[in-house]
Protein backbone atom coordinates (compact mmCIF):
# COMPACT_ATOMS: atom_id res chain seq x y z
CA UNK A 1 0.00 0.00 0.00
CA UNK A 2 1.27 3.39 -0.92
CA UNK A 3 1.75 6.00 1.70
CA UNK A 4 -0.70 8.85 1.38
CA UNK A 5 2.16 11.22 0.79
CA UNK A 6 3.16 9.35 -2.30
CA UNK A 7 -0.30 9.36 -3.88
CA UNK A 8 -0.62 11.15 -7.14
CA UNK A 9 -2.47 14.43 -7.03
CA UNK A 10 -5.36 13.10 -9.12
CA UNK A 11 -5.91 10.14 -6.79
CA UNK A 12 -6.97 12.16 -3.76
CA UNK A 13 -8.69 15.04 -5.54
CA UNK A 14 -12.27 15.32 -4.29
CA UNK A 15 -15.38 17.03 -5.54
CA UNK A 16 -16.75 19.35 -2.95
CA UNK A 17 -19.76 21.64 -2.75
CA UNK A 18 -20.37 24.52 -0.46
CA UNK A 19 -23.48 24.11 1.60
CA UNK A 20 -24.97 27.57 1.34
CA UNK A 21 -28.50 26.60 2.37
CA UNK A 22 -28.02 28.18 5.80
CA UNK A 23 -26.74 31.39 4.20
CA UNK A 24 -29.84 31.47 2.00
CA UNK A 25 -31.99 31.01 5.11
CA UNK A 26 -30.35 34.01 6.73
CA UNK A 27 -30.89 36.15 3.64
CA UNK A 28 -34.53 35.16 3.40
CA UNK A 29 -35.10 36.10 7.05
CA UNK A 30 -33.26 39.41 6.62
CA UNK A 31 -35.17 40.37 3.48
CA UNK A 32 -38.49 39.43 5.06
CA UNK A 33 -37.60 41.54 8.11
CA UNK A 34 -36.70 44.57 6.02
CA UNK A 35 -39.85 44.31 3.92
CA UNK A 36 -42.10 43.81 6.95
CA UNK A 37 -40.54 46.79 8.72
CA UNK A 38 -41.98 49.04 6.03
CA UNK A 39 -43.70 51.05 8.77
CA UNK A 40 -40.37 52.84 8.88
CA UNK A 41 -40.51 55.83 6.61
CA UNK A 42 -37.82 58.22 5.66
CA UNK A 43 -38.62 61.69 6.82
CA UNK A 44 -37.88 64.97 5.20
CA UNK A 45 -37.77 68.19 7.15
CA UNK A 46 -39.57 71.45 6.49
CA UNK A 47 -38.63 74.39 8.66
CA UNK A 48 -41.53 76.13 10.34
CA UNK A 49 -40.59 79.60 11.37
CA UNK A 50 -42.56 79.89 14.55
CA UNK A 51 -43.06 83.10 16.42
CA UNK A 52 -45.55 84.58 18.83
CA UNK A 53 -48.69 86.23 17.47
CA UNK A 54 -47.26 89.75 17.55
CA UNK A 55 -44.02 88.63 15.91
CA UNK A 56 -45.96 86.86 13.16
CA UNK A 57 -47.80 90.06 12.42
CA UNK A 58 -44.47 91.85 12.22
CA UNK A 59 -42.96 89.17 10.00
CA UNK A 60 -45.90 89.51 7.62
CA UNK A 61 -44.46 92.85 6.52
CA UNK A 62 -42.78 92.43 3.14
CA UNK A 63 -44.20 89.02 2.44
CA UNK A 64 -47.01 87.29 0.63
CA UNK A 65 -49.84 85.89 2.70
CA UNK A 66 -51.77 82.76 1.74
CA UNK A 67 -54.92 81.89 3.66
CA UNK A 68 -56.58 78.50 3.22
CA UNK A 69 -60.29 78.69 3.96
CA UNK A 70 -62.49 75.84 5.13
CA UNK A 71 -64.58 76.10 1.94
CA UNK A 72 -61.48 75.17 -0.14
CA UNK A 73 -61.01 78.72 -1.40
CA UNK A 74 -57.62 80.40 -1.07
CA UNK A 75 -56.99 84.05 -0.33
CA UNK A 76 -53.71 85.44 -1.59
CA UNK A 77 -52.53 88.93 -0.75
CA UNK A 78 -49.33 90.82 -0.38
CA UNK A 79 -48.52 92.66 2.81
CA UNK A 80 -48.11 95.79 0.69
CA UNK A 81 -51.70 95.79 -0.47
CA UNK A 82 -54.85 94.92 1.49
CA UNK A 83 -56.53 93.68 -1.68
CA UNK A 84 -57.14 89.94 -1.60
CA UNK A 85 -57.12 87.69 -4.56
CA UNK A 86 -59.58 84.87 -4.06
CA UNK A 87 -58.77 81.54 -5.68
CA UNK A 88 -61.94 79.53 -5.91
CA UNK A 89 -61.89 75.76 -5.49
CA UNK A 90 -61.94 73.66 -8.60
CA UNK A 91 -64.18 70.74 -9.38
CA UNK A 92 -62.48 67.38 -9.20
CA UNK A 93 -63.66 63.81 -9.62
CA UNK A 94 -64.04 63.43 -5.85
CA UNK A 95 -65.79 66.77 -5.35
CA UNK A 96 -64.23 70.16 -4.81
CA UNK A 97 -60.47 70.46 -4.57
CA UNK A 98 -57.92 73.15 -3.79
CA UNK A 99 -56.66 75.07 -6.80
CA UNK A 100 -53.00 75.18 -5.84
CA UNK A 101 -51.98 75.87 -9.45
CA UNK A 102 -54.14 78.99 -9.37
CA UNK A 103 -52.58 79.95 -6.05
CA UNK A 104 -49.07 79.54 -7.44
CA UNK A 105 -50.03 81.64 -10.49
CA UNK A 106 -51.39 84.39 -8.22
CA UNK A 107 -48.21 84.33 -6.12
CA UNK A 108 -46.11 84.54 -9.28
CA UNK A 109 -48.10 87.51 -10.56
CA UNK A 110 -47.79 89.34 -7.24
CA UNK A 111 -44.09 88.61 -7.04
CA UNK A 112 -43.56 89.97 -10.54
CA UNK A 113 -45.44 93.10 -9.51
CA UNK A 114 -43.42 93.52 -6.30
CA UNK A 115 -40.06 91.73 -6.62
CA UNK A 116 -39.08 92.71 -3.08
CA UNK A 117 -41.57 90.12 -1.76
CA UNK A 118 -39.40 87.09 -1.14
CA UNK A 119 -41.24 85.10 1.49
CA UNK A 120 -44.73 83.80 2.07
CA UNK A 121 -46.72 83.01 5.18
CA UNK A 122 -49.31 80.24 4.98
CA UNK A 123 -52.29 80.43 7.33
CA UNK A 124 -55.29 78.15 7.46
CA UNK A 125 -58.69 77.80 9.06
CA UNK A 126 -58.96 75.39 11.96
CA UNK A 127 -60.72 72.69 9.95
CA UNK A 128 -58.15 72.58 7.15
CA UNK A 129 -56.09 69.40 7.30
CA UNK A 130 -52.34 69.30 7.76
CA UNK A 131 -52.09 67.47 4.39
CA UNK A 132 -53.62 70.46 2.59
CA UNK A 133 -51.43 72.94 4.48
CA UNK A 134 -48.33 71.00 3.45
CA UNK A 135 -49.54 70.75 -0.15
CA UNK A 136 -50.06 74.53 -0.26
CA UNK A 137 -46.60 75.12 1.21
CA UNK A 138 -45.12 72.83 -1.40
CA UNK A 139 -46.96 74.63 -4.21
CA UNK A 140 -45.96 78.04 -2.83
CA UNK A 141 -42.30 76.98 -2.62
CA UNK A 142 -42.21 76.73 -6.40
CA UNK A 143 -42.69 80.50 -6.60
CA UNK A 144 -41.33 81.79 -3.30
CA UNK A 145 -38.12 80.53 -1.74
CA UNK A 146 -39.11 80.97 1.89
CA UNK A 147 -42.51 79.72 3.02
CA UNK A 148 -43.45 79.80 6.70
CA UNK A 149 -46.41 78.78 8.75
CA UNK A 150 -48.44 81.45 10.48
CA UNK A 151 -51.74 82.20 12.10
CA UNK A 152 -50.94 81.30 15.71
Amino acid sequence: MKRKGFLKHSEYEQDFELNIASVIDCFVVLIAFILISSSFFSIGIIDAEVAGASEVAASDAGSLVVELKADHSILVRSSESPKNERILPKQAAKGIAWDFEGMAAALKAMKEKSPELKSAVVMADNAVTYRDVMASMEAAKKEVSSVNLGGF
Binding site: I24, L35, F41, S42, I43, G44, I45, I46, M134, F152
Partner: protein, 160 residues
Amino acid sequence: MLKKTFLPTQVKNEQMALQITSMADIFVIILVFLLKSYSVEGLAYEPSVPLTPPMAHGRIDQTDGLKVEISAKAVNLAGKSVSPVSDFRFAKGDMDSNGASQSLRRALAKTRPSVVSGPKGAKLIVVADAGAPYETIKAVLSSAASEGYNDIQLAVAHAE
Protein backbone atom coordinates in the same frame (compact mmCIF):
# COMPACT_ATOMS: atom_id res chain seq x y z
CA MET B 1 -36.55 -9.95 -27.09
CA LEU B 2 -37.96 -8.96 -23.74
CA LYS B 3 -40.52 -6.23 -23.49
CA LYS B 4 -39.02 -3.01 -22.28
CA THR B 5 -41.12 -3.02 -19.10
CA PHE B 6 -39.73 -6.39 -18.00
CA LEU B 7 -36.16 -5.25 -18.15
CA PRO B 8 -34.60 -4.66 -14.79
CA THR B 9 -34.76 -0.99 -14.08
CA GLN B 10 -31.53 0.75 -13.42
CA VAL B 11 -31.13 2.12 -9.95
CA LYS B 12 -31.24 5.85 -10.31
CA ASN B 13 -28.85 8.06 -8.47
CA GLU B 14 -30.82 9.26 -5.43
CA GLN B 15 -28.45 12.07 -4.59
CA MET B 16 -29.35 15.37 -6.08
CA ALA B 17 -28.04 18.85 -5.52
CA LEU B 18 -30.03 21.98 -6.01
CA GLN B 19 -28.26 24.67 -7.95
CA ILE B 20 -29.13 27.69 -5.83
CA THR B 21 -26.13 29.85 -6.56
CA SER B 22 -28.07 32.14 -8.88
CA MET B 23 -30.82 32.53 -6.29
CA ALA B 24 -28.20 33.46 -3.70
CA ASP B 25 -26.85 36.07 -6.09
CA ILE B 26 -30.29 37.60 -6.48
CA PHE B 27 -30.87 37.65 -2.72
CA VAL B 28 -27.54 39.38 -2.15
CA ILE B 29 -28.41 42.03 -4.74
CA ILE B 30 -31.87 42.60 -3.22
CA LEU B 31 -30.44 42.79 0.27
CA VAL B 32 -27.76 45.29 -0.70
CA PHE B 33 -30.32 47.36 -2.61
CA LEU B 34 -32.74 47.45 0.35
CA LEU B 35 -30.04 48.30 2.87
CA LYS B 36 -28.67 51.06 0.67
CA SER B 37 -32.08 52.59 -0.02
CA TYR B 38 -32.84 52.71 3.71
CA SER B 39 -29.59 54.40 4.62
CA VAL B 40 -29.61 57.06 1.92
CA GLU B 41 -33.19 58.31 1.79
CA GLY B 42 -33.42 60.58 4.76
CA LEU B 43 -33.83 59.69 8.35
CA ALA B 44 -35.51 56.30 8.72
CA TYR B 45 -38.03 56.69 11.48
CA GLU B 46 -40.69 54.59 13.10
CA PRO B 47 -43.38 56.56 14.93
CA SER B 48 -44.45 55.33 18.37
CA VAL B 49 -48.11 55.74 17.39
CA PRO B 50 -49.75 54.77 14.11
CA LEU B 51 -49.75 57.84 11.91
CA THR B 52 -49.17 58.76 8.28
CA PRO B 53 -47.39 62.06 7.73
CA PRO B 54 -48.11 64.06 4.58
CA MET B 55 -45.89 63.55 1.53
CA ALA B 56 -43.70 66.48 0.56
CA HIS B 57 -40.27 67.34 -0.72
CA GLY B 58 -38.54 68.18 2.52
CA ARG B 59 -34.84 68.57 2.96
CA ILE B 60 -32.87 65.70 4.41
CA ASP B 61 -31.62 66.38 7.91
CA GLN B 62 -29.70 63.58 9.56
CA THR B 63 -29.57 65.31 12.92
CA ASP B 64 -32.08 63.95 15.36
CA GLY B 65 -34.16 65.90 17.80
CA LEU B 66 -36.99 65.73 20.29
CA LYS B 67 -40.10 64.55 18.49
CA VAL B 68 -43.72 65.34 19.17
CA GLU B 69 -46.11 62.98 17.40
CA ILE B 70 -49.70 63.92 16.68
CA SER B 71 -52.07 61.05 15.98
CA ALA B 72 -55.86 60.74 16.16
CA LYS B 73 -55.78 59.42 19.72
CA ALA B 74 -52.76 60.91 21.43
CA VAL B 75 -50.01 63.46 21.34
CA ASN B 76 -46.73 61.81 22.23
CA LEU B 77 -43.53 63.49 23.28
CA ALA B 78 -40.37 61.41 22.93
CA GLY B 79 -42.53 58.30 22.52
CA LYS B 80 -44.62 58.89 25.66
CA SER B 81 -48.24 59.97 25.62
CA VAL B 82 -48.53 63.40 27.22
CA SER B 83 -51.89 64.69 26.02
CA PRO B 84 -54.92 62.59 25.27
CA VAL B 85 -56.77 63.80 22.21
CA SER B 86 -60.05 62.72 20.73
CA ASP B 87 -60.19 62.64 16.95
CA PHE B 88 -57.07 64.85 16.79
CA ARG B 89 -58.56 67.51 19.10
CA PHE B 90 -57.33 68.46 22.56
CA ALA B 91 -59.85 68.50 25.38
CA LYS B 92 -61.33 71.97 25.81
CA GLY B 93 -60.28 72.10 29.46
CA ASP B 94 -56.67 71.46 28.43
CA MET B 95 -56.42 74.59 26.27
CA ASP B 96 -55.17 77.86 27.68
CA SER B 97 -56.06 81.38 26.56
CA ASN B 98 -53.20 81.44 24.00
CA GLY B 99 -54.51 78.34 22.23
CA ALA B 100 -51.76 76.11 23.67
CA SER B 101 -52.23 72.75 25.40
CA GLN B 102 -51.44 72.93 29.11
CA SER B 103 -50.50 69.26 29.44
CA LEU B 104 -48.19 69.46 26.44
CA ARG B 105 -46.63 72.65 27.78
CA ARG B 106 -45.90 70.92 31.10
CA ALA B 107 -44.27 67.99 29.33
CA LEU B 108 -42.25 70.29 27.06
CA ALA B 109 -41.08 72.35 30.04
CA LYS B 110 -39.97 69.16 31.81
CA THR B 111 -37.99 67.97 28.80
CA ARG B 112 -36.56 71.40 27.91
CA PRO B 113 -33.31 71.18 30.00
CA SER B 114 -32.27 67.91 28.38
CA VAL B 115 -32.97 69.01 24.80
CA VAL B 116 -29.96 69.67 22.62
CA SER B 117 -29.98 73.23 21.36
CA GLY B 118 -28.86 74.11 17.88
CA PRO B 119 -27.89 77.53 16.52
CA LYS B 120 -31.55 78.59 16.40
CA GLY B 121 -32.32 77.28 19.87
CA ALA B 122 -34.04 74.21 21.25
CA LYS B 123 -35.05 71.90 18.46
CA LEU B 124 -38.40 70.15 18.15
CA ILE B 125 -39.56 67.95 15.28
CA VAL B 126 -43.32 67.79 14.78
CA VAL B 127 -44.50 64.53 13.23
CA ALA B 128 -48.21 64.82 12.56
CA ASP B 129 -50.75 62.69 10.77
CA ALA B 130 -51.82 64.09 7.41
CA GLY B 131 -55.45 64.15 8.55
CA ALA B 132 -54.80 66.30 11.62
CA PRO B 133 -56.66 69.62 11.53
CA TYR B 134 -54.60 72.79 11.49
CA GLU B 135 -56.19 73.72 14.82
CA THR B 136 -54.24 70.92 16.53
CA ILE B 137 -51.01 71.76 14.71
CA LYS B 138 -51.38 75.38 15.80
CA ALA B 139 -51.95 74.30 19.41
CA VAL B 140 -48.80 72.15 19.38
CA LEU B 141 -46.68 74.85 17.71
CA SER B 142 -48.03 77.46 20.09
CA SER B 143 -47.24 75.23 23.10
CA ALA B 144 -43.70 74.66 21.83
CA ALA B 145 -43.07 78.32 21.06
CA SER B 146 -44.26 79.40 24.50
CA GLU B 147 -41.87 76.90 26.16
CA GLY B 148 -38.84 78.28 24.33
CA TYR B 149 -38.52 75.84 21.46
CA ASN B 150 -37.31 78.15 18.72
CA ASP B 151 -36.15 75.64 16.13
CA ILE B 152 -39.36 73.87 15.14
CA GLN B 153 -39.31 71.55 12.16
CA LEU B 154 -42.14 69.75 10.45
CA ALA B 155 -41.50 66.15 9.46
CA VAL B 156 -42.98 64.91 6.22
CA ALA B 157 -42.81 61.58 4.46
CA HIS B 158 -40.03 62.16 2.00
CA ALA B 159 -41.45 62.20 -1.53
CA GLU B 160 -39.36 60.64 -4.30
